[in-house]
Assembly symmetry: C2
Homo-oligomer: 141 residues x 2
DNA sequence: GCTTGTTAGTTACAAACTTAACTATCAACA
DNA sequence: TGTTGATAGTTAAGTTTGTAACTAACAAGC
């Protein structure tokens, strides 16, 4: 490909970023406006709601998010009374994290919103193309 | 979809983010390590290299990047001697931005690297799927 | 028990981004 | 000419992120 022909609009990392930003804007607006949450908080909340009690390290590894971001998200979710921490007696370095009722409510609401969002996207792209897109994205992640 | 079945791994905004981060990591490492540039600087450099002289506002609109980010990127590219600014006499609020030789060299190198990157990605996905992916991403951006 | 090394999580500092003023210039028009 | 409003670009304040230390607790070997 010659220099003169190269366009950002045909460069995959650029297109990925544009699409990711555009799409995450739609969904992040929901947890931001309704609960004042940041993206890492949503991911932590999701893990606890979906998989039950976990430690910060387990979430960090499962979500591939650095432990300092997890630490701050846990602190902010605790301030919101969305989760409870309890030191594990057999290893006092570790905390067991669980959702409290307000956190569970938020989780329920947001999972429903996420599923709705996904449905609308599938309707917009056609379910064949939506599945195809996800398959391709998984290859790149 | 029921609550228990919902997985981040099937949520398109999540997959988009993961893929975008993973891919942009590969390419951003190049302009970061070699030239100490940030993403906005790369995009500004690209616009000037690809389209010739432009004003900050024109780049801002074309790249859909906020003017404060452009302002700082231009400042940092000027410190690197990658571009020159020249006030336009007919409207002294506006600056004409042009690449200097070191900036041109960086542009040439990075465009080549980007094209190589794109080729490798196409080889990895197969050129049919790579084209398909780009088409789908454009729909979402 | 006393090192030495490792691990879970937090804190501190700097870099980067967001948003909202702000400065300088221009254009329109009374 | 002088006032009013718009525009290009910068600066400033607050927020979020990234990286590197740091604390507290554990584990293994002596």
């Amino acid at each position: 490909m010659s220099h003169e022909d190269f366009e950002l609009a045909g460069f995959t990392p650029y297109l990925l970023n544009q699409a990711a930003e555009a799409q995450s804007l739609v969904f992040s607006k929901i947890y931001k406006d309704r609960y004042g949450m940041l993206r890492t908080e949503w991911r932590v909340l999701f893990h606890l709601g979906r998989y039950g009690e976990m430690t910060a390290k387990e979430i960090s590894e499962s979500a591939m998010i650095h432990k300092t971001k997890i630490s701050r998200a846990v602190r902010d979710l605790e301030v919101k009374r969305f989760l409870a921490r309890e030191v594990i007696e057999t290893d006092r370095r570790v905390e067991r994290l669980t959702l409290r009722p307000p956190g569970k409510d938020a989780f329920d609401y947001l999972v429903r919103a996420a599923a709705d969002y996904e449905d609308r996207l599938a309707a917009r792209l056609g379910s064949g193309e939506a599945q195809l897109l996800k398959r391709l994205l998984k290859k790149l992640g």
